[in-house]
Protein backbone atom coordinates (compact mmCIF):
# COMPACT_ATOMS: atom_id res chain seq x y z
CA UNK A 1 0.00 0.00 0.00
CA UNK A 2 2.81 2.39 0.97
CA UNK A 3 4.61 1.65 -2.29
CA UNK A 4 1.42 2.31 -4.28
CA UNK A 5 0.96 5.72 -2.60
CA UNK A 6 4.63 6.56 -3.18
CA UNK A 7 4.37 5.57 -6.86
CA UNK A 8 1.19 7.65 -7.32
CA UNK A 9 2.91 10.64 -5.71
CA UNK A 10 5.94 10.17 -7.98
CA UNK A 11 3.74 10.01 -11.11
CA UNK A 12 1.82 13.16 -10.07
CA UNK A 13 5.07 15.02 -9.34
CA UNK A 14 6.57 13.95 -12.67
CA UNK A 15 3.36 14.95 -14.48
CA UNK A 16 3.31 18.34 -12.75
CA UNK A 17 7.02 18.85 -13.48
CA UNK A 18 6.96 18.08 -17.21
CA UNK A 19 3.89 20.26 -17.82
CA UNK A 20 5.07 23.14 -15.59
CA UNK A 21 8.49 23.23 -17.26
CA UNK A 22 6.88 23.03 -20.71
CA UNK A 23 8.78 19.85 -21.62
CA UNK A 24 5.56 18.46 -23.16
CA UNK A 25 3.07 20.70 -25.00
CA UNK A 26 -0.35 20.86 -23.27
CA UNK A 27 -1.95 19.74 -26.54
CA UNK A 28 -0.43 16.34 -25.83
CA UNK A 29 -0.44 16.35 -22.04
CA UNK A 30 -2.54 18.79 -20.01
CA UNK A 31 -1.30 19.96 -16.63
CA UNK A 32 -2.88 18.51 -13.47
CA UNK A 33 -4.73 21.86 -13.10
CA UNK A 34 -6.19 21.66 -16.61
CA UNK A 35 -7.12 18.05 -15.94
CA UNK A 36 -8.92 18.99 -12.73
CA UNK A 37 -10.78 21.83 -14.51
CA UNK A 38 -11.94 19.34 -17.15
CA UNK A 39 -13.15 16.98 -14.41
CA UNK A 40 -15.16 19.78 -12.78
CA UNK A 41 -16.60 20.93 -16.11
CA UNK A 42 -17.59 17.43 -17.15
CA UNK A 43 -19.27 16.52 -13.88
CA UNK A 44 -20.88 19.90 -13.10
CA UNK A 45 -22.05 21.07 -16.52
CA UNK A 46 -21.94 18.09 -18.88
CA UNK A 47 -23.59 15.32 -16.81
CA UNK A 48 -20.55 13.09 -17.19
CA UNK A 49 -21.93 10.85 -14.44
CA UNK A 50 -24.73 9.94 -16.87
CA UNK A 51 -22.12 8.81 -19.40
CA UNK A 52 -20.44 6.73 -16.72
CA UNK A 53 -23.73 5.17 -15.64
CA UNK A 54 -24.77 4.28 -19.18
CA UNK A 55 -21.35 2.70 -19.87
CA UNK A 56 -21.49 0.69 -16.63
CA UNK A 57 -25.07 -0.34 -17.48
CA UNK A 58 -24.02 -1.55 -20.94
CA UNK A 59 -21.15 -3.61 -19.56
CA UNK A 60 -23.21 -5.13 -16.76
CA UNK A 61 -26.15 -6.04 -19.01
CA UNK A 62 -23.98 -7.47 -21.80
CA UNK A 63 -21.76 -9.39 -19.40
CA UNK A 64 -24.75 -10.78 -17.45
CA UNK A 65 -26.33 -12.04 -20.68
CA UNK A 66 -22.98 -13.60 -21.71
CA UNK A 67 -22.65 -15.26 -18.32
CA UNK A 68 -26.25 -16.56 -18.38
CA UNK A 69 -25.74 -18.13 -21.79
CA UNK A 70 -22.10 -19.28 -21.47
CA UNK A 71 -22.55 -21.28 -18.22
CA UNK A 72 -25.48 -23.52 -19.22
CA UNK A 73 -24.04 -23.95 -22.74
CA UNK A 74 -20.66 -24.99 -21.32
CA UNK A 75 -22.42 -27.44 -18.97
CA UNK A 76 -24.31 -28.98 -21.90
CA UNK A 77 -21.17 -29.16 -24.09
CA UNK A 78 -19.13 -30.72 -21.29
CA UNK A 79 -21.66 -33.56 -21.11
CA UNK A 80 -21.56 -34.35 -24.82
CA UNK A 81 -18.23 -34.95 -26.54
CA UNK A 82 -20.07 -35.31 -29.86
CA UNK A 83 -21.90 -31.99 -29.56
CA UNK A 84 -18.65 -30.27 -28.56
CA UNK A 85 -16.85 -31.73 -31.58
CA UNK A 86 -19.63 -30.45 -33.86
CA UNK A 87 -19.83 -26.96 -32.35
CA UNK A 88 -16.25 -26.21 -31.35
CA UNK A 89 -15.05 -25.14 -34.86
CA UNK A 90 -17.91 -22.62 -35.03
CA UNK A 91 -17.21 -21.33 -31.52
CA UNK A 92 -13.51 -20.95 -32.37
CA UNK A 93 -14.38 -19.20 -35.62
CA UNK A 94 -16.52 -16.65 -33.79
CA UNK A 95 -14.05 -16.38 -30.92
CA UNK A 96 -11.22 -15.35 -33.21
CA UNK A 97 -13.25 -12.72 -35.06
CA UNK A 98 -12.11 -9.25 -33.98
CA UNK A 99 -15.14 -7.51 -32.50
CA UNK A 100 -14.71 -4.24 -34.50
CA UNK A 101 -15.12 -6.17 -37.76
CA UNK A 102 -18.70 -7.00 -36.73
CA UNK A 103 -19.70 -3.37 -36.19
CA UNK A 104 -21.02 -2.71 -39.74
CA UNK A 105 -23.16 -5.84 -39.65
CA UNK A 106 -24.46 -5.15 -36.16
CA UNK A 107 -25.42 -1.59 -37.14
CA UNK A 108 -27.05 -2.98 -40.27
CA UNK A 109 -29.11 -5.50 -38.34
CA UNK A 110 -29.75 -3.66 -35.09
CA UNK A 111 -29.30 0.02 -35.82
CA UNK A 112 -27.34 2.26 -33.45
CA UNK A 113 -29.48 1.78 -30.33
CA UNK A 114 -28.59 0.11 -27.05
CA UNK A 115 -29.23 -3.38 -28.42
CA UNK A 116 -26.44 -2.93 -30.98
CA UNK A 117 -23.85 -1.99 -28.34
CA UNK A 118 -24.94 -4.68 -25.95
CA UNK A 119 -24.87 -7.26 -28.77
CA UNK A 120 -21.33 -6.24 -29.65
CA UNK A 121 -20.14 -6.63 -26.06
CA UNK A 122 -22.06 -9.88 -25.75
CA UNK A 123 -20.44 -11.38 -28.88
CA UNK A 124 -17.05 -10.23 -27.65
CA UNK A 125 -17.31 -12.07 -24.34
CA UNK A 126 -19.74 -14.98 -24.59
CA UNK A 127 -17.58 -17.33 -26.68
CA UNK A 128 -14.47 -16.61 -24.63
CA UNK A 129 -16.28 -17.24 -21.35
CA UNK A 130 -17.95 -20.35 -22.74
CA UNK A 131 -14.64 -21.99 -23.64
CA UNK A 132 -12.98 -20.98 -20.38
CA UNK A 133 -15.86 -22.53 -18.40
CA UNK A 134 -15.88 -25.60 -20.64
CA UNK A 135 -12.17 -26.20 -20.00
CA UNK A 136 -12.66 -25.80 -16.24
CA UNK A 137 -15.57 -28.25 -16.27
CA UNK A 138 -13.44 -30.83 -18.11
CA UNK A 139 -10.71 -30.40 -15.48
CA UNK A 140 -12.91 -31.38 -12.53
CA UNK A 141 -11.31 -34.45 -10.88
CA UNK A 142 -13.20 -37.59 -11.92
CA UNK A 143 -13.27 -38.61 -8.25
CA UNK A 144 -15.81 -35.86 -7.54
CA UNK A 145 -18.15 -37.46 -10.09
CA UNK A 146 -17.54 -40.89 -8.51
CA UNK A 147 -18.43 -39.55 -5.06
CA UNK A 148 -21.50 -37.79 -6.49
CA UNK A 149 -22.66 -41.06 -8.04
CA UNK A 150 -22.06 -43.11 -4.90
CA UNK A 151 -23.85 -40.44 -2.86
CA UNK A 152 -26.79 -40.82 -5.27
CA UNK A 153 -26.80 -37.14 -6.24
CA UNK A 154 -29.68 -35.92 -8.38
CA UNK A 155 -28.89 -34.25 -11.72
CA UNK A 156 -29.32 -30.83 -10.13
CA UNK A 157 -27.04 -31.76 -7.22
CA UNK A 158 -24.39 -32.88 -9.75
CA UNK A 159 -24.64 -29.54 -11.58
CA UNK A 160 -24.29 -27.73 -8.25
CA UNK A 161 -21.24 -29.87 -7.44
CA UNK A 162 -19.67 -29.00 -10.81
CA UNK A 163 -20.29 -25.28 -10.36
CA UNK A 164 -18.82 -25.39 -6.86
CA UNK A 165 -15.80 -27.35 -8.11
CA UNK A 166 -15.05 -24.75 -10.81
CA UNK A 167 -16.15 -21.85 -8.56
CA UNK A 168 -12.73 -20.23 -7.92
CA UNK A 169 -11.70 -20.46 -11.59
CA UNK A 170 -15.12 -19.25 -12.70
CA UNK A 171 -14.79 -16.25 -10.41
CA UNK A 172 -11.43 -15.34 -11.95
CA UNK A 173 -12.76 -15.89 -15.47
CA UNK A 174 -15.68 -13.59 -14.70
CA UNK A 175 -13.25 -10.93 -13.55
CA UNK A 176 -11.15 -11.31 -16.71
CA UNK A 177 -14.07 -11.39 -19.16
CA UNK A 178 -15.66 -8.35 -17.53
CA UNK A 179 -12.36 -6.58 -18.20
CA UNK A 180 -12.58 -7.61 -21.86
CA UNK A 181 -16.14 -6.28 -21.93
CA UNK A 182 -14.78 -2.86 -20.95
CA UNK A 183 -12.26 -2.87 -23.78
CA UNK A 184 -15.02 -3.70 -26.31
CA UNK A 185 -17.22 -0.99 -24.80
CA UNK A 186 -14.81 1.71 -25.94
CA UNK A 187 -14.94 0.33 -29.47
CA UNK A 188 -18.76 0.24 -29.41
CA UNK A 189 -19.09 3.74 -28.00
CA UNK A 190 -16.48 5.27 -30.28
CA UNK A 191 -18.30 4.11 -33.36
CA UNK A 192 -22.01 4.27 -32.82
CA UNK A 193 -23.10 6.11 -29.75
CA UNK A 194 -24.70 9.30 -28.51
CA UNK A 195 -23.71 8.82 -24.87
CA UNK A 196 -21.22 6.94 -22.73
CA UNK A 197 -17.58 7.44 -21.77
CA UNK A 198 -16.32 6.37 -25.22
CA UNK A 199 -18.69 8.85 -26.87
CA UNK A 200 -17.42 11.65 -24.59
CA UNK A 201 -13.81 10.80 -25.54
CA UNK A 202 -14.71 10.81 -29.25
CA UNK A 203 -16.41 14.21 -28.91
CA UNK A 204 -13.41 15.60 -27.00
CA UNK A 205 -11.16 14.36 -29.81
CA UNK A 206 -13.26 16.21 -32.42
CA UNK A 207 -12.53 19.51 -30.66
CA UNK A 208 -8.93 18.62 -29.69
CA UNK A 209 -9.98 18.86 -26.05
CA UNK A 210 -7.05 16.85 -24.68
CA UNK A 211 -7.87 17.31 -20.94
CA UNK A 212 -11.30 15.71 -21.45
CA UNK A 213 -9.75 12.82 -23.39
CA UNK A 214 -7.49 12.21 -20.41
CA UNK A 215 -10.45 12.42 -18.00
CA UNK A 216 -12.25 9.76 -20.09
CA UNK A 217 -9.20 7.49 -20.10
CA UNK A 218 -8.57 7.87 -16.36
CA UNK A 219 -12.28 7.29 -15.60
CA UNK A 220 -12.26 4.04 -17.55
CA UNK A 221 -9.08 2.94 -15.83
CA UNK A 222 -10.53 3.73 -12.41
CA UNK A 223 -13.77 1.88 -13.13
CA UNK A 224 -11.73 -1.10 -14.37
CA UNK A 225 -9.57 -0.97 -11.27
CA UNK A 226 -12.63 -0.74 -9.01
CA UNK A 227 -14.28 -3.68 -10.81
CA UNK A 228 -11.11 -5.76 -10.51
CA UNK A 229 -10.62 -4.92 -6.84
CA UNK A 230 -14.26 -5.80 -6.13
CA UNK A 231 -13.90 -9.24 -7.74
CA UNK A 232 -10.60 -9.84 -5.95
CA UNK A 233 -11.91 -8.47 -2.65
CA UNK A 234 -14.89 -10.80 -2.57
CA UNK A 235 -12.88 -13.88 -3.61
CA UNK A 236 -11.78 -14.85 -0.07
CA UNK A 237 -15.28 -14.09 1.22
CA UNK A 238 -17.02 -16.31 -1.35
CA UNK A 239 -14.35 -19.03 -1.31
CA UNK A 240 -13.53 -19.23 2.36
CA UNK A 241 -11.96 -22.66 1.93
CA UNK A 242 -9.34 -21.16 -0.39
CA UNK A 243 -8.43 -18.56 2.22
CA UNK A 244 -8.26 -21.30 4.85
CA UNK A 245 -5.90 -23.46 2.78
CA UNK A 246 -2.83 -24.09 4.85
Amino acid sequence: MLWSVMLATAILTFWYGVTKLGIVDDLFLPSPGQFWLAVKKLFLYRDFHQDILISVFRVLIAWTISFSIAIPTALVLSKSEKLYRILSPYIDFLRYLPVPVLIPLIILFMGIGESAKISLLFIGTVFQLLLLVYDDLKDIPSEYFDISYTLNFSKWEKVKMELKAIGPNLWNNCRITMGWCWTYLVIAELVASQEGIGYMVKEAQRFSNTPEIYVGIVTMGLIGLFSDLTWKGFYPVVFRYKRAKS
Binding site: Y144, I147, L151, Y241
Partner: protein, 269 residues
Amino acid sequence: MNSAIQISKLSKFFGDLHVLNEISFAVNLGEIVSILGPSGSGKTTLLRCITGLDQEYSGDITINQIDQTRFLTDNRIAFVTQKYGNFPWLTVEENIKLGLDKRKAISSGYNVEVVRLIQDLGLSGFEKSYPDQLSGGMQQRLAIGRALAQDTEILAMDEPFGALDYQTRQGLQELIKSISHRYGKTILFVTHDIEEAIFISDRIVLITKSPSVIAKEYSVPPQLRLSEELETRFADGFVGLRRQIEKDMRRLAHEDDKTEKNISLENEI
Protein backbone atom coordinates in the same frame (compact mmCIF):
# COMPACT_ATOMS: atom_id res chain seq x y z
CA MET B 1 -23.72 -67.61 4.97
CA ASN B 2 -25.57 -64.88 3.04
CA SER B 3 -23.46 -63.24 0.40
CA ALA B 4 -23.53 -59.47 0.24
CA ILE B 5 -21.96 -59.47 -3.21
CA GLN B 6 -21.94 -62.28 -5.74
CA ILE B 7 -19.88 -61.84 -8.90
CA SER B 8 -20.24 -64.34 -11.66
CA LYS B 9 -18.17 -64.51 -14.88
CA LEU B 10 -17.48 -60.79 -14.93
CA SER B 11 -15.57 -59.74 -18.07
CA LYS B 12 -14.57 -56.29 -19.18
CA PHE B 13 -12.99 -54.89 -22.33
CA PHE B 14 -11.62 -51.40 -23.02
CA GLY B 15 -11.86 -51.44 -26.80
CA ASP B 16 -9.67 -54.38 -27.83
CA LEU B 17 -7.99 -54.60 -24.45
CA HIS B 18 -9.28 -57.52 -22.41
CA VAL B 19 -9.04 -56.32 -18.80
CA LEU B 20 -11.14 -58.72 -16.73
CA ASN B 21 -11.75 -62.32 -17.73
CA GLU B 22 -14.66 -64.21 -16.19
CA ILE B 23 -14.04 -63.10 -12.62
CA SER B 24 -16.21 -64.92 -10.09
CA PHE B 25 -16.21 -64.63 -6.33
CA ALA B 26 -18.50 -63.80 -3.44
CA VAL B 27 -18.27 -61.48 -0.49
CA ASN B 28 -20.19 -62.51 2.59
CA LEU B 29 -22.15 -60.15 4.84
CA GLY B 30 -19.89 -58.37 7.32
CA GLU B 31 -16.75 -59.68 5.66
CA ILE B 32 -13.71 -57.63 4.64
CA VAL B 33 -12.40 -58.85 1.32
CA SER B 34 -9.28 -57.40 -0.25
CA ILE B 35 -8.71 -57.48 -3.97
CA LEU B 36 -4.96 -57.81 -4.27
CA GLY B 37 -2.91 -57.62 -7.42
CA PRO B 38 -0.05 -55.82 -9.14
CA SER B 39 -0.46 -52.40 -10.73
CA GLY B 40 -2.46 -52.57 -13.93
CA SER B 41 -4.17 -55.82 -13.01
CA GLY B 42 -7.66 -54.29 -13.22
CA LYS B 43 -8.39 -54.09 -9.46
CA THR B 44 -9.88 -50.63 -9.73
CA THR B 45 -11.84 -51.58 -12.85
CA LEU B 46 -13.28 -54.55 -10.99
CA LEU B 47 -14.28 -52.35 -8.05
CA ARG B 48 -15.82 -49.76 -10.39
CA CYS B 49 -17.91 -52.48 -12.03
CA ILE B 50 -19.11 -53.73 -8.64
CA THR B 51 -20.02 -50.24 -7.37
CA GLY B 52 -21.81 -49.36 -10.61
CA LEU B 53 -19.34 -46.61 -11.54
CA ASP B 54 -18.66 -48.63 -14.70
CA GLN B 55 -21.68 -50.44 -16.04
CA GLU B 56 -20.29 -51.65 -19.36
CA TYR B 57 -19.29 -55.24 -18.62
CA SER B 58 -20.53 -58.74 -19.24
CA GLY B 59 -21.40 -61.20 -16.49
CA ASP B 60 -23.60 -61.00 -13.44
CA ILE B 61 -23.33 -59.09 -10.21
CA THR B 62 -25.87 -59.46 -7.43
CA ILE B 63 -25.88 -57.31 -4.34
CA ASN B 64 -27.89 -58.47 -1.33
CA GLN B 65 -29.39 -61.15 -3.61
CA ILE B 66 -30.72 -58.46 -5.96
CA ASP B 67 -29.48 -57.90 -9.49
CA GLN B 68 -26.97 -55.01 -9.38
CA THR B 69 -28.87 -52.82 -11.89
CA ARG B 70 -32.05 -53.13 -9.85
CA PHE B 71 -30.18 -52.63 -6.57
CA LEU B 72 -28.56 -49.44 -7.85
CA THR B 73 -31.84 -47.81 -8.87
CA ASP B 74 -32.51 -47.00 -5.21
CA ASN B 75 -29.26 -47.80 -3.41
CA ARG B 76 -25.59 -47.08 -3.61
CA ILE B 77 -22.36 -48.58 -2.35
CA ALA B 78 -20.38 -46.01 -0.33
CA PHE B 79 -17.02 -45.39 -1.96
CA VAL B 80 -13.66 -44.12 -0.72
CA THR B 81 -11.12 -43.02 -3.33
CA GLN B 82 -7.34 -42.64 -3.06
CA LYS B 83 -7.44 -38.85 -3.54
CA TYR B 84 -10.00 -36.06 -3.94
CA GLY B 85 -12.19 -38.06 -1.56
CA ASN B 86 -13.85 -35.01 -0.01
CA PHE B 87 -15.40 -31.87 -1.40
CA PRO B 88 -12.90 -29.10 -0.54
CA TRP B 89 -15.57 -26.37 -0.33
CA LEU B 90 -17.32 -28.17 2.56
CA THR B 91 -16.08 -28.31 6.14
CA VAL B 92 -15.39 -31.60 7.93
CA GLU B 93 -18.86 -31.45 9.48
CA GLU B 94 -20.55 -30.62 6.18
CA ASN B 95 -18.76 -33.44 4.35
CA ILE B 96 -19.99 -35.91 6.97
CA LYS B 97 -23.51 -34.46 6.83
CA LEU B 98 -23.49 -34.95 3.07
CA GLY B 99 -23.39 -38.70 3.70
CA LEU B 100 -26.18 -38.48 6.27
CA ASP B 101 -28.34 -36.29 4.04
CA LYS B 102 -28.38 -38.95 1.34
CA ARG B 103 -29.99 -41.56 3.54
CA LYS B 104 -33.53 -42.41 2.67
CA ALA B 105 -34.70 -41.86 6.20
CA ILE B 106 -32.58 -39.90 8.61
CA SER B 107 -32.89 -41.29 12.06
CA SER B 108 -33.50 -38.97 14.98
CA GLY B 109 -30.42 -37.52 16.61
CA TYR B 110 -28.92 -36.29 13.36
CA ASN B 111 -26.39 -34.00 15.01
CA VAL B 112 -25.56 -36.62 17.64
CA GLU B 113 -24.61 -38.97 14.83
CA VAL B 114 -22.36 -36.38 13.19
CA VAL B 115 -20.60 -35.78 16.51
CA ARG B 116 -20.24 -39.53 17.13
CA LEU B 117 -18.73 -40.16 13.70
CA ILE B 118 -16.33 -37.24 14.04
CA GLN B 119 -15.25 -38.59 17.45
CA ASP B 120 -14.91 -42.17 16.19
CA LEU B 121 -12.68 -40.98 13.36
CA GLY B 122 -10.49 -38.87 15.61
CA LEU B 123 -11.50 -35.60 13.95
CA SER B 124 -12.83 -33.84 17.06
CA GLY B 125 -11.77 -30.22 17.15
CA PHE B 126 -11.61 -30.06 13.34
CA GLU B 127 -15.37 -29.86 12.70
CA LYS B 128 -15.15 -26.42 11.09
CA SER B 129 -11.89 -27.11 9.23
CA TYR B 130 -11.78 -27.54 5.47
CA PRO B 131 -10.23 -30.72 3.98
CA ASP B 132 -7.22 -28.80 2.62
CA GLN B 133 -6.35 -27.80 6.18
CA LEU B 134 -6.07 -31.44 7.24
CA SER B 135 -3.16 -33.86 6.85
CA GLY B 136 -3.40 -36.62 4.23
CA GLY B 137 -4.32 -39.19 6.88
CA MET B 138 -7.04 -36.99 8.35
CA GLN B 139 -8.46 -36.34 4.90
CA GLN B 140 -8.81 -40.09 4.38
CA ARG B 141 -10.42 -40.43 7.84
CA LEU B 142 -12.93 -37.82 6.71
CA ALA B 143 -13.61 -39.68 3.45
CA ILE B 144 -14.21 -42.86 5.48
CA GLY B 145 -16.47 -40.88 7.81
CA ARG B 146 -18.55 -39.58 4.92
CA ALA B 147 -18.85 -43.11 3.56
CA LEU B 148 -19.89 -44.43 7.00
CA ALA B 149 -22.43 -41.63 7.33
CA GLN B 150 -24.18 -42.95 4.22
CA ASP B 151 -24.89 -46.05 6.31
CA THR B 152 -24.76 -48.42 3.35
CA GLU B 153 -24.22 -52.08 4.18
CA ILE B 154 -21.27 -52.24 1.82
CA LEU B 155 -18.22 -49.97 1.68
CA ALA B 156 -15.87 -50.00 -1.32
CA MET B 157 -12.37 -48.60 -0.96
CA ASP B 158 -9.98 -48.07 -3.84
CA GLU B 159 -6.41 -48.00 -2.49
CA PRO B 160 -7.50 -45.40 0.06
CA PHE B 161 -4.11 -45.28 1.77
CA GLY B 162 -1.95 -45.55 -1.36
CA ALA B 163 -0.71 -41.95 -1.15
CA LEU B 164 0.06 -41.99 2.59
CA ASP B 165 3.24 -42.67 4.54
CA TYR B 166 3.80 -46.05 6.22
CA GLN B 167 2.94 -44.94 9.77
CA THR B 168 -0.25 -43.11 8.80
CA ARG B 169 -1.28 -46.11 6.74
CA GLN B 170 -0.86 -48.44 9.69
CA GLY B 171 -3.06 -46.19 11.84
CA LEU B 172 -5.77 -46.12 9.20
CA GLN B 173 -5.60 -49.88 8.69
CA GLU B 174 -6.37 -50.28 12.38
CA LEU B 175 -9.25 -47.85 11.95
CA ILE B 176 -10.73 -49.88 9.08
CA LYS B 177 -10.59 -53.02 11.18
CA SER B 178 -12.21 -51.40 14.18
CA ILE B 179 -14.88 -49.83 11.97
CA SER B 180 -15.71 -53.19 10.50
CA HIS B 181 -16.01 -54.74 13.97
CA ARG B 182 -17.95 -51.80 15.45
CA TYR B 183 -20.28 -50.99 12.57
CA GLY B 184 -20.54 -54.50 11.07
CA LYS B 185 -19.88 -53.32 7.53
CA THR B 186 -19.08 -55.45 4.52
CA ILE B 187 -15.92 -53.96 3.05
CA LEU B 188 -14.43 -54.46 -0.39
CA PHE B 189 -10.88 -53.17 -0.28
CA VAL B 190 -8.55 -52.75 -3.25
CA THR B 191 -4.82 -52.72 -2.51
CA HIS B 192 -1.47 -53.78 -3.94
CA ASP B 193 0.06 -54.00 -0.44
CA ILE B 194 0.20 -57.61 0.78
CA GLU B 195 0.71 -56.69 4.45
CA GLU B 196 -2.21 -54.28 4.35
CA ALA B 197 -4.42 -56.91 2.74
CA ILE B 198 -3.60 -59.54 5.39
CA PHE B 199 -3.98 -57.14 8.33
CA ILE B 200 -7.34 -55.78 7.23
CA SER B 201 -9.04 -58.70 5.54
CA ASP B 202 -10.98 -61.79 6.36
CA ARG B 203 -10.30 -63.03 2.87
CA ILE B 204 -7.96 -62.03 0.04
CA VAL B 205 -8.66 -62.41 -3.66
CA LEU B 206 -5.47 -62.38 -5.72
CA ILE B 207 -5.86 -61.36 -9.33
CA THR B 208 -3.34 -61.58 -12.17
CA LYS B 209 -2.60 -59.34 -15.09
CA SER B 210 -3.82 -59.03 -18.68
CA PRO B 211 -6.51 -60.19 -18.71
CA SER B 212 -7.20 -60.50 -15.01
CA VAL B 213 -8.38 -63.77 -13.64
CA ILE B 214 -8.64 -64.88 -10.05
CA ALA B 215 -5.36 -66.63 -9.35
CA LYS B 216 -6.05 -67.66 -5.79
CA GLU B 217 -8.18 -66.90 -2.75
CA TYR B 218 -6.71 -66.85 0.76
CA SER B 219 -8.56 -67.09 4.00
CA VAL B 220 -6.93 -65.11 6.80
CA PRO B 221 -6.69 -67.23 10.01
CA PRO B 222 -9.36 -66.25 12.61
CA GLN B 223 -6.81 -65.24 15.29
CA LEU B 224 -5.32 -62.68 12.85
CA ARG B 225 -8.72 -61.42 11.73
CA LEU B 226 -9.94 -60.57 15.21
CA SER B 227 -6.81 -58.77 16.34
CA GLU B 228 -6.64 -55.00 15.87
CA GLU B 229 -3.11 -54.89 17.32
CA LEU B 230 -0.23 -53.83 15.10
CA GLU B 231 1.92 -56.62 16.62
CA THR B 232 -0.23 -59.11 14.72
CA ARG B 233 2.02 -58.39 11.76
CA PHE B 234 4.86 -60.26 13.49
CA ALA B 235 2.81 -63.36 14.32
CA ASP B 236 3.91 -66.58 12.64
CA GLY B 237 0.59 -67.01 10.83
CA PHE B 238 0.81 -63.49 9.44
CA VAL B 239 4.40 -63.82 8.25
CA GLY B 240 3.71 -67.27 6.78
CA LEU B 241 0.71 -66.03 4.81
CA ARG B 242 2.65 -63.00 3.57
CA ARG B 243 5.47 -65.26 2.31
CA GLN B 244 2.95 -67.53 0.62
CA ILE B 245 1.27 -64.62 -1.19
CA GLU B 246 4.64 -63.09 -2.15
CA LYS B 247 5.72 -66.43 -3.59
CA ASP B 248 2.48 -66.78 -5.55
CA MET B 249 2.73 -63.22 -6.86
CA ARG B 250 6.33 -63.76 -8.01
CA ARG B 251 5.35 -66.96 -9.79
CA LEU B 252 2.41 -65.25 -11.47
CA ALA B 253 4.55 -62.28 -12.50
CA HIS B 254 7.08 -64.71 -14.01
CA GLU B 255 4.28 -66.50 -15.92
CA ASP B 256 2.92 -63.14 -17.11
CA ASP B 257 6.37 -62.18 -18.40
CA LYS B 258 6.69 -65.49 -20.25
CA THR B 259 3.25 -65.05 -21.83
CA GLU B 260 4.07 -61.48 -22.90
CA LYS B 261 7.39 -62.63 -24.42
CA ASN B 262 5.65 -65.46 -26.32
CA ILE B 263 3.04 -63.05 -27.66
CA SER B 264 5.67 -60.56 -28.83
CA LEU B 265 7.69 -63.42 -30.43
CA GLU B 266 4.57 -64.66 -32.23
CA ASN B 267 3.90 -61.13 -33.43
CA GLU B 268 7.47 -60.78 -34.73
CA ILE B 269 7.24 -64.11 -36.60
